[in-house]
């Protein structure tokens, strides 16, 4: 992994089920994440994904790619265009720095309205597979 490397994109279908179960699993019962009428009253055309679910998906994108052993150190995200039911979000990532075993990845999640999320993930990479070779050279 080196600066400039890109991660394979991950497209997440934004279903009503994902928005609602994500909100409830993160214990966020704010009505705009499950009640379309409440969402409209708040000026939104429909319910929209809560930030905890977005945060979880950004984390999942990184750990899916790096596999077990990768440890998230920091996730910093900013929301833009909302994730509404029926949309899809394409997550992409670019490695911006690598220091020792710690990498920083710039992540963007884009939907049909624009950028839903932009953020930076700091992750410690898994140790090279050396369990069977204790004297593996660095």
């Amino acid at each position: 992994m080196k600066p400039g490397d890109t991660l394979p994109p991950l497209t997440v279908p934004i279903t009503r089920t994902l928005i609602i179960t994500g909100a409830i699993a993160s214990r966020d019962y704010k009505d705009v994440h499950h009640d379309p009428e409440a969402a409209r009253a708040a000026g939104s055309p429909d319910i929209f994904m809560n930030i905890l679910t977005t945060n979880g998906l950004v984390g999942r994108y990184i750990t899916d790619h790096l596999g077990p052993g990768a440890v998230l150190r920091k996730v910093a995200i900013r929301l833009g265009a909302p994730n509404h039911p029926g949309d899809a979000m394409a997550l992409t990532g670019t490695v911006t720095s690598v220091r020792g075993r710690t990498a920083e990845v710039a992540v963007v999640g884009a939907n049909s309205l624009g950028r839903h999320v932009t953020g930076t993930v700091t992750v410690t990479l898994p140790e090279p597979e050396a369990e069977t070779e204790p004297e593996a050279t660095a």
Binding site: G22, R27, Y29, I51, G56, T63, P68, V75
Partner: protein, 317 residues
């Protein structure tokens, strides 16, 4: 600064949560629900010694349907203030988390948070509102587990007329304080700093192009006639005439006392500037009226160039 914003800012630094406790310890059920909802099949989250997804950090601190038991009165007061001003809706905009340890089932979660910042009123696509940032320190079994900085926008939904109410509330506040209100401050930058230095020294300075000699005002980095960036500051004599004017009656602005005359004054040197006419009733101002420069103190540390009718020259034969 609006009176509302002054009151909002007073909340910065106050506690948002004091000695918060997670509703239950870290547990496999919530981890499973989270992973199922998000489609996260990471092997670390299941099996004999599972850990929680790091990004669940905030979830362990959420009050749930029954609400928070440890939210400080400060947050409720701050949000009530925003609600009353019409900023009734809320949306999360930023989340910054740092993870210091992997959380495991059985760990007890405790946390404290502080109101870090309240922004000035911002206009967003959703509507106008204020950003509120909180910073939370989270512990697991008493050991630091992570930090969680969270920013929400408390806003007035565009589809309601609440913003107008908020503005009216502000205006009512302002009317009551009009006597004490300060005039708007000039925006001073590198292009016009020389002009304001002149004002401070009771000199009215304009620019004259070094290349073509054209005088110009207000101050600009280049000549409008020939484009040259070279110029010299020149002091105006202060003599001029009213080229055009309006009399402001309505709407009233804080720190201004209508009716007052706003004039375009043509200086003897050939440039024109917007200013006030003082020393004469607003309805007595006339186009062509000879005026002369003076400096008016509008705040303890701020003077402005204004113009008053010039004394009639006595004819001598």
């Amino acid at each position: 600064m609006s009176d509302l914003y002054r009151r909002l800012r007073a909340f910065e630094g106050r506690p948002a949560t004091v000695s918060g406790e997670g509703r239950e310890p870290v547990n496999v059920s919530m981890i499973r629900h989270w992973c199922e909802a998000l489609g996260d099949t990471g092997p670390a989250y299941t099996g004999k010694d599972p850990v929680a997804p790091a990004t669940m950090l905030q979830a362990w601190t959420m009050g749930g349907l029954s609400g928070s038991r440890s939210r400080s009165p400060a947050v409720d007061e701050l949000f009530a203030l925003l609600d009353d001003a019409g900023y009734t809706a809320v949306v999360a905009t930023d989340c910054e988390q740092e993870y210091l340890q992997a959380l495991r089932p059985g760990q007890t979660i405790t946390f404290d948070s502080v109101i870090e910042a309240v922004s000035p009123r911002k206009t967003t696509r959703l509507g106008a509102g204020h950003f509120v940032t909180t910073r939370m320190e989270i512990r697991a079994d008493g050991e630091p587990a992570g930090t969680h900085r969270f920013r929400v926008l408390k806003y007035a939904p565009r589809k309601t007329a609440k913003t107008a109410n908020a503005d009216n509330a502000d205006n009512a506040d302002n009317a009551a304080k009009a006597q004490a209100a300060e005039r708007p401050r000039p925006v001073i930058n590198r292009d016009n700093a020389g002009f304001w230095e002149g004002v401070a020294a009771h000199r009215l300075l304009f620019q004259r192009c070094d290349a073509c000699g054209t005088p110009r005002f207000p101050w600009l980095p280049g000549c409008g006639s020939c484009g040259s960036p070279e110029w010299t500051a020149v002091e105006a004599s202060g003599a001029g005439t009213v080229y055009s004017y309006v009399v402001m009656h309505h709407p009233p602005f804080p720190a201004f006392d209508p009716p007052y005359a706003v004039a375009l004054v043509e200086l003897a040197e050939g440039i024109r500037m917007i200013s006030n006419i003082t020393g004469v009733a607003a309805d007595r101002v006339r186009v062509g009226m000879p005026v002369t420069l003076e400096f008016l103190r509008v705040a303890p540390d701020q003077e402005l160039p204004v113009f008053r009718p010039a004394p009639m020259e006595v004819e001598t034969s």
